[in-house]
Subunit: 375 residues, 2 copies
Amino acid sequence: MVSGCGEERVMRRTMVMSEYSIGASSINGDGSVTFRLAAPEAQRVSVSGDFISAADGTAFGGGEMVRNGDGVWEYTTLPLASELYTYSFNVDGVRICDPTNGHISRNVSTLSSELIIGGGRGDYYRVNDVPHGTVRSCWYHSDSYGCDRRMMVYTPPGYESGGRYPVLYLLHGAGNDEGSWLELGRVEEIVDNMIARGECRPMIVVMPNGNAFKQAADISAAEGTALKWSDRKPLNPMLEVSFAEVVDYVDGTFRTVDGKRGRAIAGLSMGGGQTSIISYSLPDTFDYVGLFSAAVGAVTDEQNDAKIKAQRDNGLKLYWIACGTEDFLYDGNRQYMSYLDSIGFPYVYCESDGGHIWRNWRIYLSEFAPMLFRK
Amino acid sequence: MVSGCGEERVMRRTMVMSEYSIGASSINGDGSVTFRLAAPEAQRVSVSGDFISAADGTAFGGGEMVRNGDGVWEYTTLPLASELYTYSFNVDGVRICDPTNGHISRNVSTLSSELIIGGGRGDYYRVNDVPHGTVRSCWYHSDSYGCDRRMMVYTPPGYESGGRYPVLYLLHGAGNDEGSWLELGRVEEIVDNMIARGECRPMIVVMPNGNAFKQAADISAAEGTALKWSDRKPLNPMLEVSFAEVVDYVDGTFRTVDGKRGRAIAGLSMGGGQTSIISYSLPDTFDYVGLFSAAVGAVTDEQNDAKIKAQRDNGLKLYWIACGTEDFLYDGNRQYMSYLDSIGFPYVYCESDGGHIWRNWRIYLSEFAPMLFRK
């Protein structure tokens, strides 16, 4: 089954589109953005960001800024759809964040400035006046890796009052960490807003660190950034064991709905590949599986083939695959689905435009979450 | 009573001082830092940071970087004491963070790059291989302000296993927010490390937002940065009421030690002034009070004078005042202490060097925490 993906959602109470400033830059009444950077002594300044491909369909790129009389460089985009966009400036060959905008995010080791254009999908990524969940940064002990590891856990509004809640396990991509789904994926905002609108069930969202050789994000780990590559432990051989530890910790720490009907797992890129492996390696654990731009391909290994067939026979409620047509993993996903077709494994495929970027993963989460824990 | 403050603490298991890189820059074997920025097209590049005053006693300032043959600009500091330092570059008149360093912090709306020199006090600000507490970002309803507000809460290692814990309420300065003590103050790292070393008692640390007119940090509030100044609600008139709400929420949500013997309150700058007001306005609530570079001065108001005398008569275990000799609030603190002397209010004064900067507030927290909840 193939469904469309990424249709514009508009929140019932949309933001009034009006001019306002993001530091020195401004979002204009028509949804265009005028970027400004004071740099009187600079020779050449440009702006780059993921807004450019969104506006006019060209590849991710940059625009030369024009210096006005005051030494302020300016660039105005086309009108942009409601979204969260990231951008940076380039001043005489040096890539920089907007020094007047405190809203920043880190993707792997690259920092970018952020802005949200409201009035549509972007409103899902804002903090709105709705009941808010709680986000925990907590550590659990991993016997398989012999260290404490950090995970982020979202519990929905009302969790503190009692009751049991289903759990979505959400895995990040290579180079990301346990904080990425919150920072770049806006999980807290998306789930808060969707619960408030009745669009998804209240759920716990667990975001572990998917890099087996790390305790936590570089920024939060004892090994820091000084970890030697040679210290890395292999990832995949231990994935089933280490992920069972995660599930055990979560079930032992939070008031969860027991059993597979109360568990979903999804991941992006590397985390999508892990989602495939974990969901067929831990049978009867997850009723909902989501592969977002997943690192998957043709299945040729006999053992894995047998496990996936067992997953098929065992049955689950949703196996959902999403990929963008410009994604470098598009062909791999096609091959993976051909394999699933060949063994009669039921799944739902959601194809979007765009490539391997966080905008798509926020959209996929917004499409996936409403389908969970409905029965 | 006057005590020295800021003596060098050295962790038992210190980091081996060795050369390692922070992005393109490097920390050298002697504790000096060589900053590097690739900017072949730039005309002039400098580096600025709080390390400069630490190294040679000069005022916070910057150093001109020198361009080498590859278009990489360099600057090497004097050997620096073990600390957490913040820095930024200036490229042709534009202040930027280090584009090769993912470690960044936001102070009010200014972003800076961070580095830690280990081997001493700086090790307190690192994540080390010790048991870790949990940090929650959670929202409570404020009846006095008519909105949900966000706070950050640290619970110590072992909290999940049961028991009751005392609470330190930690207030930020003007322009900061509920995230600042974690991000700039390294509360999680300091308390984790001090508990592990047996230097402070396991405690809960509560970090509310002290700006009465805000739900939360700009970055996390529904009103965003678009809040009009005219929407501000007055702070001080409601402080006692609104802070009692905070205490009630915490006592109702976490397993706290009941009564004043289980509560401490401390704050920096504006938060230090609030600490003074809250602690005398809510009698029998706090046995431990800390004023860090507090916004205080002579006490001339009769009502406040009466409340402070009542606080004195009521008794408390520790009233601790810390200030740096270069702090612009130094004279105000002197006036406040003259008043306390005049009414025979017992306190401990801790004088450090340096000014109104986060380095001092991290040190003050490290000095204050061991004195709490000992009896």
